[in-house]
């Protein structure tokens, strides 16, 4: 058994690390979405966090927790700065502005020497342990769960539904949006820091438009009406390619198909509680019929 586990762990540990990190990313965008903000800056924040942490680990003797702290704080500061003017925008316009921001970050990183240009940073010490991810993911989940059931969570939801009405309920809309945006940046940044310390290398190409869309996909695929959604979404989309690998060349086609089918039947994501409830009810009635 132990031997089996060792073998399994040797092969799949990085897949499992990846799931944990993707879960954090999906949660980071869940948070901004729960406040009605369609922000695509989270990939860029992940990158900022990753570079900040990697540079500290490679160029100083500071410990890993400090590097992770930097991977949380740097994106938070950037988010604070760009959030102020940007968050007036709504819907796709915000998505576009944050996409533009991400592009600016990517090109800057690409052209700086200290960030290694297109080669990125290589030889980052491998410091991420499985329990780092479990711990930080746990803290994130716990915090978000508490936030959800508090006045902050309700304020987020009110803002998502009707900004004007929310304002007239005495909610400082600008401040709460900024809060969601910055917290999202912190979570994404930490995920970036953790990721950098197990893949040995980071590069500007990892944090562009496509990653932003990937992160969004995981959250929406899982469902953004509760915390389980982003978790399930990131889990499913991370293991799907593994499960489909027997399809060889058609693997990606199958991925696309599964994505479509799931969204078609569960448009609110795989973790759609109301749907699950009706299904269970239907199941119950079916089985009771059989008993009779």
């Amino acid at each position: 058994m132990l031997e089996w586990w060792n073998g399994f762990w040797a092969i799949y540990s990085s897949v499992i690390f990846g799931i944990g990190i993707n879960a954090m990313l999906a949660l980071s965008i869940y948070l901004t979405l729960s406040c009605g903000l369609l922000s695509l800056a989270n990939a860029a924040f992940m990158g900022i966090g990753a570079y900040a942490a990697a540079m500290i680990s490679m160029q100083t003797n500071l410990s890993f927790p400090i590097a992770l702290l930097a991977s949380a704080m740097t994106p938070a500061l950037v988010a604070l700065a760009i959030g102020m003017p940007t968050l007036r925008l709504s819907g796709v316009y915000l998505a576009m502005a944050t996409l533009g921001f991400g592009e600016v970050v990517r090109v800057i990183v690409l052209n700086l020497d200290i960030t290694g240009g297109p080669m990125g940073l290589n030889g980052i010490p491998q410091k991420t342990e499985w329990w780092h991810i479990v711990l930080l993911l746990g803290v994130t989940l716990f915090t978000l769960a508490r936030v959800r059931r508090s006045k902050i969570g309700r304020a987020f939801e009110a803002i998502k539904e009707d900004e004007i009405a929310a304002r007239l309920m005495g909610i400082n809309v600008a401040r709460y949006k900024l809060l969601a945006f910055v917290l999202g940046a912190v979570i994404a940044g930490v995920a970036g820091g953790l990721n950098a310390h197990y893949t040995f290398t980071i590069g500007p190409a990892n944090y562009g438009f496509e990653s932003a869309v990937d992160i969004l996909t995981m959250a929406v695929f899982g469902g953004t009406s509760n915390l389980l959604g982003p978790l399930l979404g990131s889990f499913t989309l991370s293991v799907l390619p593994e499960l489909m690998s027997w399809l060889k060349d058609f693997r990606l086609v199958a991925n696309g198909l599964i994505l479509i089918i799931v969204i078609l039947y569960l448009p609110k994501g795989i973790c759609d509680t109301t749907k699950l409830r009706t299904w269970r009810r239907r199941l119950d009635t079916n089985s009771s019929v059989k008993v009779q």
Binding site: R146, K151, E157, L168, I171
Partner: protein, 253 residues
Amino acid sequence: MLELASVSKHFGGLQVLQDVSFSVKQGSIFGLIGPNGAGKTTIVNLITGLINPSAGEIRFNGQNLHAVAAHNITQLGIARTFQNIRIFKEMSLLENVVVGMHRHLGYSPLSMLFKLNSFKHAEASAKQRALELLSWVRLDHKAQMLADNLSYGEQRKLELARALATEPKLLLLDEPVAGMNPAEKIELMEEIKNIRDRGFSIFMIEHDMRFVMELCDQIAVLNFGKIIAQGSPQEVRHNPQVIEAYLGKEEEV
């Protein structure tokens, strides 16, 4: 307590309000009536800080509301309902009302994170209070339903409860009984009286004359952005200008 002094507003070239002045007294019900498009809702939007006046001043309890953000105006004690209903459709009725209590839930982030007593207590009493407010408008039996599932008239009542939840000193109602039948109107009229008696001041826009005349202590009439009459219901009702512009010749309403 609320005072408008020579307030004007234009949208581009369209002059919507001109030199509007009136004041609302503490503990009273003030009615604003006038033809469609006269600028009544615009006045409510100005008071609640959604738009800014082009000229003039709005004061609430002596404080100038110029450039005060909408959420701060709510915190000063002004709440409103909307002519085109704006409830939070994806939330339950209870949550809608609890959102209204936002600024009265004073627990710290720490207490929120660790479910300390102050948090538990504040949340529980907010729920309690919300249920009470819902019972004022007779919606407490639907407290757990999604607001989207309510009929039009019920949504209006929910809005009223939600506005009350902000514990306003002044309540602005934009056509509170639109879409209700006479029996329901009378029911709501009683509720509004009760609310007034509980110490709220009320500013109300309404086209139903029976309702306005019976409830209001003071009425102002707006026509094409100008106040054309002001006074007690009796005075206004017999003002020829008001009859001409608003009520129409036949007495029967």
